[in-house]
């Protein structure tokens, strides 16, 4: 069974049909998705801007990260569940949609970027916690910010294609 056939199978599950057929279920789940993603982008952006030396300059980088991360992860969990529900309602259509694919690719790249930062770049954070982060950290932050802007843009474009 290929992936497209799996998508067709998915969109014929009862819960997927319920979302697709109901007048208000899709807008409600979509609102939850948008609300959650604003918190993801806002809290990730806060960490990125601190690492770039643009925002929260009087707070330690580690403090900005530890206070923003719980927001980012809990909101991401909500956005992921709500997004999966939206996806299931028209799975085969979204699967072949170009902006959707760009969005998923950028999400994967953002995850890789985050892992590299977490396991390599952030190890020496004690040395620059209150000062200007090194080039590698600023690069990671710029990549993250760019990727999340593209994720939001691609997400918005799905609705126009």
């Amino acid at each position: 069974m290929n992936l497209l056939a799996m998508m067709t199978w998915l969109e014929h599950r009862p819960f997927a049909i319920a979302i697709a057929e109901s007048t208000w279920l899709f807008p409600i789940v979509e609102t939850v998705h948008v609300l959650a993603l604003t918190v993801v982008v806002g809290s990730v952006g806060m960490m990125d801007l601190r690492l770039l030396g643009v925002g929260s300059k009087d707070r330690a980088a580690s403090e900005v990260i530890s206070s923003s991360l719980p927001w980012a992860w809990s909101a991401f969990a909500v956005a992921f569940v709500a997004g999966s529900m939206l996806f299931s309602s028209k799975a085969a259509t979204y699967y072949v949609n170009l902006p959707f694919r760009i969005k998923m690719l950028c999400l994967a790249l953002a995850a890789v970027n985050m892992l590299v930062f977490h396991f390599y770049t952030a190890r020496g954070m004690a040395a620059w916690d209150r000062g200007t982060p090194p080039r590698a950290a600023r690069f990671a932050a710029a990549c993250s910010l760019t990727l999340w802007v593209v994720i939001v843009a691609a997400g918005r474009w799905i609705g126009f294609t």
Binding site: P27, E30, T31, V34, L35, L37, T38, V39, V40, V41, G42, S43, G45, M46, G55, S56, D58, R59, E63, S67, W71, V149, V152, A153, R156, W157, G159, F160
Partner: protein
């Protein structure tokens, strides 16, 4: 009267120009959502502190000093992008009940934020000075959170009414 104004606006050169460019609305909406992310995250984090759901981190007035300037900048971008969207599709916005409700709630949120900020600037620690002030702060925090959520919901529902 509003319908006549909408019709007039829709016939203007600028409206026709924007409406004729298929990338214009999704691009402006993307900027709009990114700015909402800044407003919702900064205010949401401050509201959680006012509600004492989060007690760690720097003092509230320090956090507010960091966040609120970004909130106002983002609100400025929201005003500009919002006006551009109205110019492009006047009837879709101006004649829409969800849009009208959203504008009232934005106004209320701006007033609440001004109250919060003014008290904070005049007297650092204002919101934690006494049990009565803490209670008042908590009421302000709940109202602000509810408004943020409702504004995003109303904004999304414009597309469905």
């Amino acid at each position: 009267m509003m319908q006549q104004f909408s019709d007039w606006l829709a016939a203007t050169f600028l409206s026709q120009l924007f409406a004729g460019m298929s990338w214009f609305v999704p691009t402006v909406q993307t900027l709009h959502i990114l700015s909402i992310a800044v407003v919702v995250t900064t205010l949401g984090m401050l509201d959680f502190r006012l509600l004492r759901l989060i007690r760690s981190g720097p003092p509230l007035q320090t956090l507010a000093g960091n966040f609120i300037p970004w909130t106002w900048r983002a609100l400025g971008v929201l005003l500009v992008t919002g006006i551009l969207l109205i110019i492009t599709e006047p009837t879709r916005e101006l004649m829409n009940d969800a849009f009208r409700l959203k504008m009232l709630m934005v106004l209320a949120l701006v007033v609440l934020t001004l109250v919060f900020q003014t008290a904070n600037t005049r007297e650092p620690g204002y919101w934690s000075a006494s049990p009565a002030r803490r209670r008042l702060g908590a009421v302000l925090g709940i109202a602000s959170l509810l408004l943020c959520v409702s504004i995003v919901a109303a904004g999304r529902l414009i597309a469905y009414l």
